[in-house]
């Protein structure tokens, strides 16, 4: 009897010991080994990014030229504001990126013609004819009188409310959309670290025309200056090709009134698709491609003109498609007579062609048409094809767009990683995320301070890091197990083991209860 009791006691201890081992050692071990490795991410800072408050400041310098202010007013100005410098308007002065200098000239000055109020120069400067003001005003009143005009100038040269809203359209869908602003936002290509520009010459009739185009020279002379100027925004790679026997997918109609073939505006949209099948693209990069096609019509369908919606002739003879590129039709029928020996050697006038392509490239890259208020005159862009302040406009909208995109990417990545607990977060992803967050914070700070160049650089770094983190191949959540599948896996493993333990524990507990009840009964 005593031996039996001892056996039973030993059995009880054994069961308790096993249960203890399972609970104390087994469960933590199982938890640890089935955990997914998740490196630490700065979730708090990311949630701060969600409510992004952007503050953009522009450095404006207002210079009063001699004769604008009466001597009494000049005397009334505090000394610190008076800089009586013989400030000659040097053409070569480099003003820092993002700043605007406004020179105020006297009302009666003859520098500007009568009806012109503002002349916007190429390099971030503007001449403003001062509005009439009383001689008794002090500095503050003079400046506040100029406020409206200066604001107009700055919104033309830097950014206005609409531009920033358009740049943020990725993050904040515009509620009130005007057709023009939507068209603008759809036309410009999205911000990307690099772009590929391809120039193609389409020669459907090599038997009649032997075309020569000096594309390398043209790119070096005309396109490369623009791309060099746009270097802070993205990397550009340019290539070119010649396609023979490539036809447009649409049959042009012969118009008797001008004895030429015409393509109507409605049929233009069907031209691109058959051609696109033949255009190659660089397989090595995933950068967006901008195609510029030069089509020389075959001898039987020359000359070929494009008509717009109101059946008028288009002077440039070219059309473009948003985010894709442009096509120009170049007629060569006037360059040779009917008796010329086929194939005719033809040198293409690259200046004319590049003029059109440059204009289309500007539109594709987002250099918006500025609609300045009345009384404004804009200096022509010059050899680079892009005025400094136009570049500034692009930089402002690009940095805002980059910041918006990067912050959206980071916040959605954090949300995704939070939601799906099974994704492994490697160290390199955590590092990319942290660097993206710090770059974003720096970019926002630089925008606030008004340093546009640094802001753009930080925003580019932020977007690169965030894209790399989001699109990392290791973040694939193939570990999606619905709950019933999890049960189906664990039950055959753990149930046979747990049932004896649980039952023996229950038996121990019930025996202990019975003994206590017996003891109670005995003691009573």
């Amino acid at each position: 009897m005593a031996a039996l009791q001892l056996e039973k006691q030993r059995g009880r201890y054994a069961a308790l010991a096993i249960a203890a081992v399972v609970i104390v050692v087994g469960i933590p071990l199982w938890w640890k080994t089935t955990e997914t490795y998740r490196a630490w991410l700065p979730f708090s800072e990311i949630s701060e990014l969600d409510s992004l408050q952007l503050q953009l400041s522009v450095d404006i310098e207002v210079v009063f030229s001699r004769g604008t202010l009466t001597p009494e007013q000049q005397k009334k100005f505090p000394l610190s504001h008076v800089n009586e410098k013989e400030h000659q308007l040097h053409h070569k002065t480099e003003f820092s990126c993002g700043s605007v200098v406004v020179y105020v000239i006297p009302e009666s000055s003859t520098l500007l013609p009568e009806d012109v109020k503002v002349y916007v120069g190429q390099r971030r400067t503007a001449l403003l004819r001062s509005p009439p003001f009383k001689t008794s005003w002090n500095l503050k009143e003079v400046l506040s009188n100029l406020d409206v005009e200066v604001e107009q100038v700055v919104s033309t040269m830097s950014f206005g409310h609409q531009d920033i809203v358009a740049a943020l359209s990725n993050r904040v869908r515009m509620t009130k959309v005007t057709k023009e602003s939507m068209a603008d936002s759809m036309r410009a290509i999205k911000s990307s670290p690099g772009y590929e520009i391809t120039f193609s010459l389409l020669n459907p009739d090599p038997k009649s025309h032997s075309l020569h185009w000096d594309i390398e020279g043209a790119v070096q002379s005309y396109i490369q200056p623009l791309l060099n100027k746009l270097a802070p925004i993205a990397n550009f790679s340019v290539d070119s090709q010649i396609l023979y026997y490539a036809v447009l997918g649409v049959n042009p109609r012969f118009d008797n009134s001008v004895s030429a073939y015409t393509l109507s505006a409605d049929s233009l949209s069907h031209v691109i698709n058959p051609v696109e099948a033949r255009l190659g693209s660089n397989a090595a990069s995933s950068n967006p491609v901008l195609n510029f096609l030069l089509y020389v019509p075959d001898a039987h369908h020359s000359p070929l003109f494009i008509r717009d919606h109101s059946k008028r002739k288009v002077p440039s003879n070219a059309f473009h498609s948003p985010r894709w590129g442009g096509i120009m039709v170049y007629n060569v029928n006037e360059m040779y007579g009917p008796e010329a020996e086929r194939p005719v050697d033809i040198n293409i006038n690259m200046a004319k062609v590049m003029g059109v392509f440059l204009a289309q490239l500007r539109l594709m890259l987002g250099v918006q048409h500025t609609h300045p208020p009345t009384g404004f005159v804009l200096q022509s862009p010059g050899s680079a094809g892009l005025a400094d302040w136009e570049l500034d406009r692009l930089l402002w909208s690009r940095s805002v767009e980059n910041i918006a995109t990067a912050s959206t990417t980071i916040t959605s990545l954090a949300q995704l990683l939070d939601q799906i607990g099974n994704i492994v977060i490697n160290d390199n992803i955590a590092q990319q995320v942290s660097s993206a967050v710090t770059s974003l914070q720096s970019a926002v700070a630089e925008l606030e301070a008004g340093n546009l160049a640094f802001a753009l650089q930080y925003s580019r770094e932020a977007i690169l890091a965030s894209e790399r983190a989001f699109f990392d191949p290791s973040l694939l959540h193939l570990l999606y197990f619905p709950d019933d599948q999890k049960f189906a896996i664990y039950i055959p493993l753990f149930l046979p083991m747990c049932v004896p333990i649980v039952l023996s524990l229950l038996k121990i507990v019930s025996e202990a209860k019975k003994r206590r009840a017996d003891k109670q009964a005995k003691s009573d």
Binding site: K179, A183, H270
Partner: protein, 370 residues
Amino acid sequence: MDYYNLLTTCAFIHLLVSIPYAYSNYVENKAGQFFSSGHTNNWAVLVCTSRFWFNYRHVANTLSVYRSVKRLGIPDSHIVLMLADDMACNYRNPKPATVFSHKNMELNVYGDDVEVDYRGYEVTVENFLRVLTGRLPPSTPRSKRLLSDDRSNILIYLTGHGGNGFLKFQDSEEISNMELADAFEQMWQKRRYNELLFIIDTCQGASMYERFYSPNLMALASSQVGEDSLSHQPDLAIGVHLMDKYTFYLLEFLEEVHPASQANMNDLFKVCPQSQCVSTPGHRTDLFQRNPGSVLITDFFGSVRKVEITKDTINLTSSLKPLIQRSGSGDMQIESLTYVDQLPVAEIIHQNAIQGLSYSIMTEGTPVNF
């Protein structure tokens, strides 16, 4: 009489005046419609998930949708075609290099212009999800990527064997509807699509779109939960069923659509009613912003580009830089290029002569002449 003439001439003049006005209005409306759909490019992801010869019909399904999509204008560079098995060059195909969709071999959907991006065992759940979410390794070529942006309309077509809430890939793995919904949500978070049309032709296909929760999704399925999608007709010469019913009637519908057609989604919903399909096709439009009646078929199946006339040009006055200046610092020595000798005989003889010499030095024997 005169009064009558006057009235008719007045009416005629009025008509003449109002017609151009109405026409310009129409043109304005057309122009407005161009930008109303909000997309600038189209992509298509067409997936066939089953292998083995008896699943010929799934490959034919996918290829017929591929053919329609290409005919309506989407270029190969914008189509990701995933075929899990090669039926055209299968050993059991009595007519090699063809895949037919109609019996009596009426229509060969394989053609000679098919570009398959993922073939055979490359069609896996992982690759499919990687293509959708964009998480491909950096070495993936351009043709295997879905490079869509926030203004792309994407068409996704899946076919194969499926069940309630899953789709079978390659007879060895499955994708669940939750995974698919999560993948679409990730696409939305990264703005990889403007609008997405999801078509699935499997048994119990409607279960696959039940769990979608991202905006701008429209889904069509060939059968409801609990129903089977049936195949259409066998061809006795080839020996297998050629197409599934739903896709067969879808193909017939799409053959009538041309790039300028105005057919809209409501017509697509009517494709293959129960009398023809035996199963009940379903669709889901609650996540879609626009009214399906205003969505053109070509918004997803075709690729109608928006074009604008280039109005401004830049006057370039500087002439091209002459060639000499452009070569940069230092003249480039242009050497004439020749082919490398395939068998460098001279080197072999020279080398062996040296070896022979050293050998003869070491062994003091007669040198061997080669």
